[in-house]
């Protein structure tokens, strides 16, 4: 029955039986690290392909369909091309920071990936302050972007990086506050416990009106957090070349690119976990088969990823002042009022429980 659980447990027992404890735990960590790197790479490449196909369908085009069946190997070919390209740089760049920046971005998104529960027990790091950890980690990524923009010694890169700083710092608030609204219901920051509570109905149902408002705010500010259109001030192609990664080429560029898509996945995964019950099946139809939770989780996440792509291919890019007006004059006050409403609803026991 409990397939995923038993596989991980068997490997765990087997490792500890053939090796001394300290070595075995290190080997286990390395294995988990490698597994997450593989998930990272596959997810990143798949999301890039998905984005390109969906963009094509929105624009009445066909999209990449030549390499492999329906273009499934297109992004693999692109990655191979990027691997074989020369790593260029500007002469007056700060070499150390310039080379460090892509790793900041990629490590922060990998760390965020680690706390997301794919299904029951398939969870690299079930930390008891999960949501807090996610909020904290998501703001480290912006350091990578700022470093990259600063160290490139390029005015467009610097402008792009500074815009990213403005954007991420302001929208950070909305992301955190909209998640806090939901935490009032759950009373716990631990992601596995948040999902456990949703067995009585997904939080977006439990919290009804304020939860829906919080979800809308989270999706808006999450899109802004991951620097995607319509909030792609950072790499506004028509204004800044490519923004903060103008001077990057080859694999370093690919790191930025993959991290951007993984960040989108992470935002969608957090929304799926906090609002839509994570790996829980609707009405508990497949509750007896825990490993199916992966599919429910990925299904919900990809629906939300599609929503973000839909935003991207519908809305025009905001100006910087419009971006800040939206955050400070609309999202933040609505969010604060929403928290009070949610607190009242929880206090008066008006949540919908099944």
């Amino acid at each position: 029955m409990n397939i995923s659980l038993s596989i991980t447990k068997n490997i765990h027992d087997w490792l500890f039986s053939i090796m001394p404890e300290s070595v075995a735990s290190i080997v286990e960590m390395v294995l988990i690290g490698l597994l997450y790197l593989v998930i990272f790479a596959i997810l990143g490449l798949f999301l890039v392909l998905l984005e390109r196909r969906i963009a094509a369908w929105f624009q009445l085009r066909i999209g990449p369909n030549r390499v492999g069946f329906q273009g499934l190997l297109q992004t693999m070919a692109d990655a191979l091309k990027l691997l074989s390209k020369e790593l260029t740089g500007t002469t007056k760049a700060d070499k150390f920071l310039y080379n460090l920046a892509p790793y900041f971005v990629i490590v922060s998104s990998l760390m965020a990936l680690a706390v997301i529960p794919f299904t029951k027990e398939f969870h690299a790091f079930d930390i008891n302050i999960g949501i807090f950890f996610l909020i904290a980690i998501s703001s480290i990524g912006v350091i990578g972007i700022l470093l990259g923009g600063w160290a490139s010694n390029n005015k467009f890169a610097l402008i792009g990086a500074m815009r990213s700083g403005v954007q991420t710092i302001s929208y950070e608030l909305s992301v955190a506050l909209s998640l806090l609204t939901m935490i009032i219901i759950t009373g716990s920051l631990q992601l596995s416990e948040i999902i456990e509570i949703q067995k009585n109905g997904w939080l977006i149902v439990q919290g009804h009106i304020p939860a829906i408002i919080a979800f809308m705010i989270f999706m808006i500010s999450g899109t802004a957090e991951s620097n995607r259109a319509p909030f792609d001030m950072v790499e506004a192609e028509s204004e800044l070349g490519a923004g903060f990664h103008t001077e990057y080429s080859g694999m370093k560029f690919a790191y930025f690119f993959l991290a951007e898509f993984i960040n989108m996945f992470i935002i969608a995964a957090i929304a799926a976990t906090v609002f839509f019950g994570g790996w829980l099946s609707p009405f508990g139809i497949t509750e007896s088969i825990p490993w199916l939770g992966v599919f429910w989780f990925l299904g919900k996440t990809f629906v939300l990823v599609f929503l973000m792509m839909w935003f991207r291919w519908t809305f025009p890019r905001l100006r910087v002042d419009q971006l800040l007006t939206l955050e400070w004059k609309y999202l933040l006050p609505i969010n604060l009022v929403n928290i009070v409403i949610m607190a009242l609803i929880v206090w008066l026991n008006l949540t919908i429980q099944f």
């Binding site: 969906i54 009445l60 085009r61 839909w310 935003f311 519908t314 809305f315 609309y330």
Partner: protein, 158 residues
């Protein structure tokens, strides 16, 4: 109070936009405008207003509608059209009459501006939909549009 109506209007317009793109997304399978070109060469049909090249249609009796008035040659901004003409005897009236010998069209010089087609009083030349015009020798781009032995269609000059 405009604060709240602004929020309402904002959400409403965003949803309107999303419904428009959503409709396009759902119909994209049927209405994809991308042509997968070399694969569909057999079935590819260019649209009517496509400007591929200038052609002179002939009817089944090998007759065209060009009277040799040379208005197209004058209208052409870059000397693409050259009309070689002479005077022949008209069969019905027995008088001398201007006839085209060769309607020479240099595709390599043509900018597809369409002035010649606009100016033609008898609709003798039109846009053709052929676009596969690459050749290895540029002399192949100089074309004679009237077919050999072709004549003026009777009744065009009336």
């Amino acid at each position: 109070m405009s604060y709240f109506s602004d929020i309402y209007k904002g959400i409403k317009t965003l949803l309107t936009g999303m419904s428009v793109t959503g409709k396009y997304f759902l119909t994209s399978r049927k209405g994809a405008i991308t042509q997968q070109y070399p694969d569909n060469r057999a079935t590819l049909k260019m649209f009517d207003r496509f400007r591929g090249e200038v052609i002179m249609p002939h009817n089944e009796n090998n007759e065209h509608r060009c009277t040799g008035c040379q208005k197209c040659e004058i209208a052409c901004p870059n000397g693409t059209i050259e009309i070689i003409w002479d005077r022949g005897i008209d069969e019905t009236t027995g008088k001398k009459k201007k006839k085209i010998d060769q309607f020479v069209y240099h595709l390599s010089m043509c900018t597809m501006c369409g002035l010649c087609i606009d100016v033609c009083p008898t609709n003798a030349i039109e846009w053709g939909q052929n676009f596969e015009n690459s050749v290895y020798d540029r002399t192949a781009l100089t074309r004679v549009l009237n077919k050999p032995e072709s004549k003026l269609q009777p009744g065009v000059e009336d």
